[in-house]
Each structure stands twice: as C-alpha cells, then as structure tokens.
C-alpha cells in the first residue's frame, strides 16, 4: 500500500507525457497582389476550420461582407515568431487580394495564416496527443465529464464506494466484469499506470492508487491530467490521447473552439472510442451524444434549450482524420529528420516541424493521380495488381518539395513509390544528354544530326542495336526535333559523340548520387531513379542550371519554442545558364509540338510549360517530368512488379501531369535570355533558318548568337530577318 502510494506520487509528480513531433504544412502568405479570389480564400479558411459567422465572436471565425472578408485570426506560432489572436480585414477583387488591414484600419503588407497541422511523428503503436493547459479547455468540458462520468468528482476521495457497489452488483448479475463505477481518477490511474486487463486484483490496485492520487493532488490538477491523458480514438497505428488531439482528430480545430454539441460528442466517445467511433458508427455515437446532452440538462450543466439546439446539429466530424493526411510526404519529412535526430527525440520531445507542403497542390496531385489511374486501369490489363503511380511536385527556385503522392491509395501508409520505387528513367534522361552536348559548344538547337541505325559492339561480343519507338529512321534532323520527338538513334549518336563519362558527370552534377553504369544504353535511360530523384534532376533544369537539394523541412523548434535546426536554401551553379536556357527552350518545343503536345488539351492555351516524357523498355515505366515558371512535377506510372503497362510516358504519366498543372495557379515558364544567345526560327524537319510566315512548320529556338545556321533558300533575307522580326515584336508590344 505504501509502495503503491510512493509509486503513484512519484510517477505522477514527475509526469511528462511523451510528445510526438508535430508536423505543419507551409502557412499561406496573404498579401496585396496574391491571385486568390474571395472564394479561394474562404476555401483556405475552411481548410483551417474557421467558422463562417455573421458576427465575429472568437478566434477561428470569419465574416464575409461583399468583397471584404473579416477574419478573427487564431494565435499562431511560426518558426520565427509567435502571433497573438488578431483581427484582419481582407479586401478582394476579381484579380485576387487588393489589400489587407488590421483592426485599426492600418495597411498590413504581408501576413501568414496559421499553418495546417498535417501529422505527427509517433512511435509505432504509440500514443499521440496535443497537450492543453486549463486555459485552453472550454469550461463546459470538465463540467460535462463530471456530469456524465463522475458526479461526485469534486467531493469523493478518489473512489466512489456507492458507484463501485452498484457496479459489482451489475457485474455479479451479468456474470462477467463490465465497465462502470470508475471515477475519473480511477480512469486516469488505469490509463496512466496500468494495463487494460480487467481483473479484480487490478481493480483493487486501481482503487488504492486512485485514493493515493486524490490525497496528494488537487482536483484541478487531476482533471487537467485526465483531459490530456485519456484515450479517445485509434487511427491505424496511432492512438489518439487527450481531448486536445481528439478535437483536432475529429473536428480539425482547437479544443477551445468546440461548441456544445461537439463537446458532448467527445464526452460520448470517452465511454468507448471504438464502439462509439463517430466516423465508423455515426448512428451509435449520435445517439450517445444526445444521451450526454440529456444528462447535461438533468445535471443542470446546460439549459434544455441549448441542449435541444445542440441535438439538432449534425455530428460535425471531418471526413478524414486531421493529421496523417499525407503519409508519403510525412515519410520524406521523417527521413530528413532522422539524419539529425534520434527516433526518441522525434517521437517524445515535443518538437514542432515546419514543412513546405502546400495542401492545395498536394490535393490536386492526389486527385489527378487517382482519377487518371482509375481511367487507365479500366481495361484491367494486368491481373496481378492495380496500376500504380507516384507524384512529386516542387517549387523549382526554392528547391522545396510541396507535394508527394506515394501511390493511388493516398491515405495508405505503406510502400512509398515516390521515395522507394527505383525505376528505369527511360527518355527522361535525354535532356541531360542534350545539355551535355550543348555545353560542349559543338551542338546547338539547330545543329543537324543523323538519325540513323546504330550498332555498338559490346564487351561481351554482342551488339547493341537500339531502335526508334516507331521502328523507323528519320535521317537528317535538327537537334530540337531529335529531342522533341524523342528520337533514340539521333540521341545515341550525339551521346556517343560527346562521351558517356561526360553525360554521367552531368547527371551527377544535377544530383544523381549513385553514378550510372556507363553503358551506351544509359543514353536511352537505362538508369534507375526514384520519382524524388528525377524531381531533383529536373529541378536543376527548371531552376536555370542551379542545383538546390530538395527539401521538405523548413525549420524545427523545440517544446520551448527555441529554433533547433533550419534547412536553408542552397543554390549551386551546375551548368552554363546559356546551355540550360537553350535546352529549356527545346523542352518548351517538346510540349508544343513533340511528345508532350497532348498536354495542351488540358492546359490554359497561353501557359508556357517545358517537359519530357519517358518510357522504359517494354513499357514498364511511364514517366513525365515538366515544369512551368513556378511548379515542377514528376509523375511515374507503372506496376509494382515491373510488369509491362503498355503505356508510353505520353499515354500514362502525361495526362496525370497535365491535370495537376491545370489545377494549379501556376505561372508560365519564362527566363531572361542569357547574353550571347539569339532567338531564331528554323524549319522543324530540316533545321534551316526561315523567316516568320515563310513556312507553317517552323520552331523558335535560342542558339548561340555566333551560330551559323544555313537559311532555307527563298525563305529568308540573310542577316536582316531577325532584326525585322524583333522590330515587329517590339512595335507590337508597344501597341498592346
């Protein structure tokens, strides 16, 4: 007895709940000039579970008045500052946000909404919780808990003998041990100190420990411990503990903002989080919530009127649990953090992790993949398993990963294809072959190369004889066409001429960590990469030849708000900006008239994008990688067992990519043309320089200003046309 007393007191006094690291998405930055309409803005507020009201009352609500939106912002913590609750007025117009003003009417240049909680890093089969202080608990909650679970909480000494006798009587009658008769203190003891096996001796220990706890601690302290300790739900491996997390888990908002019906539902769930799971058994939990409401009226906690109004409300539970929304993204975050932190620090130390996830982009990527795979998979070509896919989206200039989809079942925390599917990149490798060629100074976009049969004797005495996708040869073609139409033979010719080591070095500079095996087949993509690695390689192309290691974590702060670690932007030049610009212009040609042109059907007509399709041998992998001015997306589609899909990159991955790009507010690709390059037009089939309007089969390319490009006879006034074109262009822009 004395032993139990000491044990209880010491453990409870030194109690420190293990706090899993909490992971947040990127906060939305609001500023005048942001292309976010009033409707978009409301969606963003709804995502953070702000309530639309007619009269602003407390933080977490907003009011719409024509084009003006008033928001009662919640207090928020960012990596670099803490912000109190405050009022913000947002004035919107057809183009987006026009201005922001604070409560005094002063203009605010820029302001962040609080970041969305996207999950936590908890141990396997572990407890997850959000600790709340008594100030963060609506007074209704303890009152309701007492009324429903333990009416004599304020006066008893840890146990309620009458209730126990009642329970024993019921148990004896039923012939088995049933729930009941436990005070809140006993429930706390059970959850905190004991296993959940129900035996009589355990019951005795529980009672003794409850009495000891009650003797040593105040009722307020015990109530607060109960509110933070108790089990309220299960989410896969994650055990939802405490009302702070339960509020986020079921309603997506802080505990302080819960109304009567929501508090009543959580109190209903206490009795049996699995049996009364409001997502799986809405009818059951609804009935019990209403029972709780009735009990609250009977105990004079709330008025009959309020209870009746609350009973008319729907359950209000979010369709998906908050947190653990984005397992593939969290997986990447976890792997990043494991380099610097012990597992125990992540799952116990109460760290806060700020990431660059953009929930809007993430959801667009998930939708596009689910939707397109469902469409592509309909003929059920492969009985072994469903067609799978993965998506990585980055913001090229910051090197930030803003969305990751690890498979078509997006909520499933399993095989993460974006990080672990290591697959042949196919023609996705070609831009790096061409970039190496451009950097050598011996090739430009208009250089005519031969697309002709290739025969490479291999070391083992055999011969490598690749073919074009169409099994045809195309003869003399300009470089831009060889890339845009993804001609294998022309590419192999260029690659062998430049040399495999140089091509391999380019891939290394752009971030490929494992050096590829330097065999000729490397030039056609016999190089395995994960979708994330492909994204890193292409990010350098989208970022003008600058490599930025991809990152998802912006900052980590500890439980006291102290900044622990930041992952600052790094920018390293890895290729000549002129060569990359020239290449990027060719990748624009891929989209406008090459293997990527099918995307145009989905994209806004004036959106400039650049990209490349990839198909590995026997159609095992369907890839597409491409970028606009503000987003890069890589899509992989294939079977987990490497079976042929029958899909080219253009047929499988491209529509997914195009749907993602079409769903984003994305800017056209654009870059200032580096000095030393000149804009020119060439005939697509021949590479001959042509005047605008002279042929309807021309393509605009950027080439070194010194490049001597033969003119198409009768189609150009040598040396003059480009100048006239530019003057035209200039005049046209003046007029507009």
């Amino acid at each position: 007895m004395l032993y139990l007393d000491r044990l209880v007191t010491r453990q409870f006094e030194g109690r420190r709940w293990t706090l899993p690291a909490r992971v947040y998405a990127a906060p939305l930055e609001l500023y005048a000039g942001l292309a976010l309409t009033g409707g978009d803005l409301e969606q963003e507020l709804e995502r953070l579970h702000y309530r639309r009201v007619t009269q602003l009352d407390r933080p977490g609500s907003y009011r719409v008045n024509g084009t003006r939106i008033d928001v009662a912002l919640r207090p928020a913590r960012f990596a670099d500052e803490r912000r109190d609750a405050e009022l913000l007025s947002i004035f919107t117009g057809p183009e987006g946000i026009e201005s922001l003003r604070d409560a005094t009417g002063r203009e605010v240049p820029v302001l962040r909404l609080e970041p969305l909680l996207i999950g936590s890093i908890f141990p396997i089969h572990g407890e997850d919780r959000i600790i709340v202080t008594p100030q963060e608990v609506p007074p209704l909650l303890p009152a309701a808990l007492k009324a429903v679970e333990d009416r004599k909480f304020d006066s008893h000494h840890g146990i309620d003998p009458q209730a126990i006798l009642r329970a024993l009587w019921v148990n004896a009658r039923a012939g088995q041990i049933e729930q009941g008769g436990s005070t809140l203190t006993q429930q706390l003891v059970r959850s905190y100190f004991l296993s959940s096996r129900q035996t009589l001796s355990r019951k005795t220990r529980e009672a003794i420990m409850a009495i000891a706890l009650d003797a040593h601690f105040t009722k307020e302290d015990l109530m607060n411990a109960y509110i933070n300790e108790i089990f309220l739900g299960q989410d896969g491996d994650r055990a939802i503990h405490g009302f702070g997390l339960a509020s986020q888990f079921y309603f997506g908002k802080p505990l302080a903002e819960l109304d009567l019906s929501e508090v009543a539902l959580l109190v209903a769930v206490v009795r049996g989080p699995s049996y009364y799971d409001p997502r799986r058994h809405p009818d059951r939990s609804h009935a019990r919530r209403d029972l709780v409401l009735k009990e609250l009226v009977a105990q004079h906690v709330v008025s009959a009127q309020d209870a009746a109004a609350a009973a008319r409300r729907p359950l209000g539970v979010t369709s998906r649990p908050a947190g653990a929304y984005y397992p593939a993204y969290l997986d990447f975050v976890r792997r990043t953090l494991r380099r610097d932190y012990r597992e125990q620090d992540l799952t116990e130390a109460g760290l806060t992790v700020y990431t660059s996830l953009d929930p809007r982009v993430q959801e667009a990527a998930e939708r596009a993949l689910e939707h397109e795979l469902a469409r592509l998979d309909r003929p059920k070509k492969h009985p072994e398993g469903p067609l799978e896919g993965a998506v990585v989206v980055t913001s090229p200039e910051s090197g930030e990963v803003i969305a990751i989809v690890g498979g078509r079942n997006v909520g499933y925390d399993g095989f993460d294809r974006a990080l672990d599917a290591n697959r042949a990149m196919g023609s996705l490798v070609k831009p790096f072959v061409y970039l190496t060629a451009l950097e050598s100074g011996r090739y430009n976009a208009a250089t005519v190369v031969q697309d002709a049969p290739v025969d490479v004797p291999l070391a083992n005495g055999r011969h490598w004889r690749p073919e074009n996708f169409t099994h045809e040869t195309y003869g003399a073609v300009p470089v831009v066409r060889a890339l845009a139409d993804s001609l294998n033979l022309a590419t192999v010719g260029i690659g062998l001429d430049i040399g495999l080591p140089k091509v391999a070095a380019t891939l290394g500079h752009f971030g490929l960590e494992r050096p590829p095996e330097q065999v000729p087949a490397m030039l056609l993509g016999a190089v395995n990469v994960t979708p994330l690695e492909a994204a890193e390689l292409y990010n350098g192309l989208a970022n003008g030849g600058f490599r930025s290691p991809l990152r998802a974590v912006r900052a980590v702060i500890d439980a006291d708000g102290k900044a622990l670690k930041a992952f600052p932007l790094e920018v390293t030049p890895v290729a000549s900006p002129a060569a990359v610009y020239e290449l990027d212009r060719m990748l624009v040609a891929v989209m406008n008239r090459g293997t990527g042109r099918a995307a145009r059907a989905y994209l806004p007509p004036d959106l400039v994008v650049a990209g490349k399709s990839g198909t590995s041998s026997d159609f095992r992998d369907s890839w597409f990688a491409g970028f606009s001015g503000s987003h890069l997306a890589v899509v992989w589609v294939g079977y987990d067992d490497d079976a042929p899909t029958g899909l080219t990159g253009s047929a499988g991955a491209l529509p997914v990519w195009a749907h993602i790009m079409a769903a984003l507010h994305t800017r056209s690709w654009s870059a200032p043309m580096p000095e030393g390059l000149a804009e020119t037009e060439i005939e697509y089939p021949t590479g001959l320089r042509v005047a605008r309007g002279c042929t309807d089969d021309a393509v605009a390319v950027a080439v070194p200003a010194s490049a001597d490009i033969p003119a198409k006879p009768g189609c150009v006034l040598p040396g003059l046309t480009t100048l006239i074109d530019r003057a035209h262009e200039w005049l046209r822009n003046l007029v507009h």
Binding site: Y31, V110, F546, L569, S670, P672, D697, A700, R732
Partner: protein, 168 residues
C-alpha cells in the same frame, strides 16, 4: 560591409524604378509562348512567337520591401538564420526578383558562407536580364565572395564586371 550593401539593396527594392526592361523592348529578355497565344499567331503548327519578357510584378514591391526591411533588422542583430528565412519568404512570393537573390547572398556572406553567396550572385545574374544596375549588384556580391575566400584575381575580374567593364 554587409549593412552598407544591404541598405543599397533595400533602396533598390523599395523604389519601383526601372528594374527590368520593358517587355518586348529590343534586347530585352525573350520568352516563348504557348502556341496560339499571341495575337499574331498563325495557323497551328507554326512557330511559337517570341514573346513578352519575364515579368517583375511592381505590385509586389511593397510586400517584398516589408520583408527585406524585416530581414535587415534581423541581420543587424546578428540573427542571420532568421534574416535568411525572412528573405526566403520574400523569394517565395517574388522568385524572379534578382535583387532578392542578392540580398540573400549578402546574408549568407555575412553568415560566413561565401560559396553559397557566390551561388546566389550567379542566380541573380541569370535573372538580371540586361539591366546594368542589377547586374552590377550581383557582380559586386560575387566579387565580395571571392575576396573573402582570398581569390583575388577572380575578385578583381568580378569587380570589373560590376563596374560595367570587360574582364581582364
């Protein structure tokens, strides 16, 4: 050194001056458009039109200026990490503004990371188009990053670039 240069950057950021050249002006940056987008676009299959220059949005000047100012305050008190994070916020809003890249490079340099400072200077150069004053800012940053590393020959060359002279 950092503060002087940073102050210069802020002035340039806050004044909606001639930052990059007018779209389409001769010699200005060129950008391709998607087919069918320009008024003069001809039949399908014709060449893309060479097109408006990358846009610096003057509406965002007030936004980025506010963040740059905040970053300067943080850098002054030696909080280079925080200053960098604030400038990254600005860059996410306006990634095509070369002066923001110079600002961030200045913070990296003050924080003892001249290699990264040079990278930011070179990134700024690719965004500067043919704007001489912006080019000059970027070259000065690159020159300073060389000086810190004791690479004096390269520093002098970069300085000549900053002054608008041809390198040795």
């Amino acid at each position: 050194m950092f503060l002087a240069a940073a102050g210069l950057g802020l002035a340039a950021c806050a004044t909606p001056g001639p930052r990059s050249q007018a779209p389409g002006a001769p010699g200005a940056a060129v950008q391709p458009t998607a087919p069918g987008s320009s008024p003069g676009a001809a039949a399908p299959g014709s060449a893309e039109q060479p097109p408006p220059a990358p846009s610096h949005n003057p509406r965002l000047d007030a936004v980025t200026a506010a963040l740059v100012k905040e970053a300067h305050g943080q850098a002054t008190s030696g909080a280079y990490g925080a200053a960098g994070a604030t400038l990254e916020r600005a860059l996410r809003i306006e990634p095509d503004d070369p002066l923001l890249w110079v600002e961030l490079g200045r913070v990296r340099l003050a924080d003892g990371n001249p290699d990264q400072a040079e990278g930011f200077g070179r990134k700024a150069l690719t965004l500067a188009g043919s704007n001489p004053s912006v080019q000059s800012e970027a070259w000065r940053l690159i020159a300073d990053s060389f000086k810190v590393r004791g690479r004096n020959v390269e520093a002098v060359d970069a300085e000549r670039h900053a002054l608008g002279l041809s390198p040795h």
